[in-house]
Symmetry: C2
Subunit: 453 residues, 2 copies
């Protein structure tokens, strides 16, 4: 009899694991269980659905349970909350969120792909209506409803991480007054300060009011509705607020059945995605992964890593022997006219990880200086002082700058040095690049700081 | 007394060698000798100066002899032809092309950076006025003069290589009727046929008349002026024609003093850029380089490789010990709305080089499919059947596709396999990429063809 596989969580990791396993072994009976109303959607596309640049939230959804069954032969059940795993009996306890009915499902193997949950700040008022986090498609739909029903004019973004930046842009694009409060001196700690500064300038240029080094002390409301954010000793009247003060791996279910979490707080897995509990795998943002530069276990909230972990688990489910090497926490985003990309370690992270590291930042042209559309871009390279091994990189610029980070991703994966970067045969033509690519200009400047012995 | 260094050729390789050496050892007395009227110009920018997208040919010039002296402390003499090298006496014989005066210059070390020369087809009529090749800025200026003086309406491009494509686009942009004649069944042999097909379609869409599989038999003129191109049994009346039937390393001077040329026909050098003749270096397109995938010596006509070779020779001139690893013949170009990028070996080249190779081509989106500007791109990967080592790659698409070739460049340099590509932590955000990058989609599809053992 064919194996029964249950997958808890119907997004990047869960859907990829299920699809890959089914493709390689069509005999597998696979069911995906998802607590929200949607499976296989792009949470990263949510800001664009909010502004209307993408017409409907439906456009962000790749599969419905119906189309998933027809096209890939996979079962999916939405609005089902998995409440407990009983590994001894190979059974999970579920609740149907529509009917409130409870039921059991048996499995031969189980995949946890439960993702992450937004953290809430420890302040009063986080229960108020008008306060949002963004980790599910439904959050975006609720926010869009709120915006269309009310005359919302002022919004606060609490926290300047990836989601905060994206939502600041979306709300500003919709014409709201937006203030962004960031506890640290600079927003977006995924890049070093001198790069963050450029993001801050772009946000200011676009009319986002920045309150840096500003902790939020409380959220104030009336009749259960948010009215103001207290920060820097002042009450800032707002119609809605978005919280982006961090995310945590969603490990409740795993911990409930004795699966240990690692140093990173995410579920402990081996390089095949297997947890220490027999028959249970974990993949995606709930599962630990390894940082390819520091070698340390990390919790990653990125969909790219989730999908790759899901693929590996899917292959292992089918009987192949597949392993996942790890992640560089690569990300890119578009903040109004600016592309912001990063990979590997920032200088701060490198020093914290014990590397004897240095960094160099150069400004260069993204295209031949004489070519009409040519514009400025910035490349920052983080490297080991001795020998010049690349440890990380950050790139800021226009549209043509964004994906150049992939060159650094590949170089980091191959453990290249600045000297290696300098000699890469990178592509040149006036409409797309300069004779010496900005990455190589940065490498050449950085080499002056490298000790060869 | 400080060493006297002479550099023959004032472009990518020569200027980089001179600048790098002077920067590292300011005591060196360096003179650059250039037979044309310009030094340090971008020949790749020439089509844009022709169309007026770049205002003046002067915009393509980085330094004049005057500014080179002031800013970098380098001497440069233009319109000086080096006629002979006497390595025994460490002297070169020169002729001033303005005064026709002959003179000698002594050197301690000499750098040959004489570039390439366009080949001429072995047919009658190549001496006619109205016929152009493009390898110097002066050729572009002459062509622009010709176009502004005459009522040129019809142009023929003979040969569909990089230069042919660029010039077809420039002349078409200027409103001329353009026909492109290519001897082979497909143009641009730097990519495999199925990719070339897309370039052909783009050229046709833009009104370029393509005559593929069509050899030119003669060039016909009257009173020394070109009037028609004979091809496919017909006389095609034209006002001007551009020849792009290949280039050869400019090795006359080297061979004249006994420096051997290698298998590739270019000047033989070691990995430091030294020729077998004491005190004489060669760098750039006249010098041989090594293909990083095939391991074979090659002649490369690319400015990127020339500049890197120049840098290495400059460092060696200064007393450092610097080596050049080699090239992948990476290139990118913009053919109207299409970006065309390639690196490493095509499938045809891989098979000819003795690899047991296969290839895969996928069509994918350059951005999230729901993101407004999203468009299609094509990725082709060439790989070893056993083990899946990457051997080359080709990418076609819009502006955002072009520089993604650098990911493949870096992967090739690191000798990565399709499996390695599949796990790269490449950057994703809806405005710039898809969750699985097109390169990884191609790698994943290609993996189905790879034998693991």
């Amino acid at each position: 009899m064919a194996e029964r596989i249950l997958v808890v969580g119907g997004n990047a990791a869960g859907m990829t694991a299920a699809s890959r396993a089914k493709r390689l072994d069509p005999a597998l009976r696979i069911t995906v269980l998802e607590s929200s109303r949607f499976i296989s959607y792009s949470i990263c596309g949510l800001p664009y659905a909010l502004t209307g640049e993408v017409k409907s939230h439906q456009d962000l959804v790749a599969f419905t349970p119906q189309s998933l069954k027809e096209e890939r032969g996979l079962q999916a059940r939405i609005r089902v909350k998995v409440q407990e795993i009983l590994p001894g009996r190979r059974v999970i306890l579920c609740r149907d969120l529509e009917s409130d009915e409870e039921f059991e499902l048996g499995y031969d193997r189980l995949v946890l792909a439960t993702g992450y949950v937004p953290r809430l700040p420890r302040i009063v008022g986080t229960e108020l209506e008008g306060l949002f986090t963004v980790s599910r498609l439904e959050h975006g739909i609720a926010m869009r409803e709120r915006l269309s029903q009310s005359q919302a004019r002022r919004a606060a973004i609490v926290g300047g991480g990836y989601i905060g930046l994206m939502m600041a842009q979306a709300l500003r694009t919709l014409g709201l007054e937006v203030m962004l409060m960031e506890r640290n001196r600079h927003l977006y700690s995924q890049v070093d300060e001198e790069m963050a500064l450029e993001i801050e300038q772009e946000l200011s240029r676009q009319g986002v009011e920045l309150l840096l080094g500003t902790a939020v002390h409380s959220l104030r409301g009336r009749n259960g509705r948010l009215e103001a954010v207290e920060a820097a000793g002042k009450l800032h009247a707002v119609d809605l607020a978005l919280l982006d003060v961090g995310v945590a791996p969603n490990t409740e279910l795993a911990r409930g059945c004795g699966i240990p979490c690692g140093m990173s707080t995410a579920v402990q897995v081996d390089d095949r995605g297997q947890t220490p509990v027999s028959g249970i795998y974990a993949a995606g943002n709930c599962a630990e992964t390894r940082h390819l530069v520091s070698g340390r276990p990390i919790f990653s909230a990125l969909g790219t890593t989730a999908a790759k972990q899901g693929r590996v688990v899917g292959e292992n489910l089918s009987g192949r022997r597949s392993t996942f090497a790890g992640s560089l926490e690569t990300s890119v985003e578009k903040v109004f006219g600016l592309s912001v990309a990063r990979t590997g370690l920032t200088l701060r992270q490198a020093l914290q990880s014990g590397f004897e590291a240095d960094a160099v930042t150069v400004k260069a042209r993204d295209r031949a200086s004489y070519y009409p559309a040519s514009q400025s871009m910035k490349v920052r390279l983080v490297f080991e002082k001795r020998g010049g091994r690349l440890l990380g990189g950050q790139i800021l610029g226009g549209d043509l700058a964004a994906k150049r980070i992939d060159t650094l991703v590949t170089a980091l994966t191959a453990k290249m040095s600045l000297q290696d970067l300098s000699q890469l045969d990178l592509a040149y033509a006036p409409p797309y690049a300069t004779l010496w690519d900005p990455i190589q200009i940065a490498a050449n400047v950085g080499l002056r700081k490298v000790r060869r012995w």
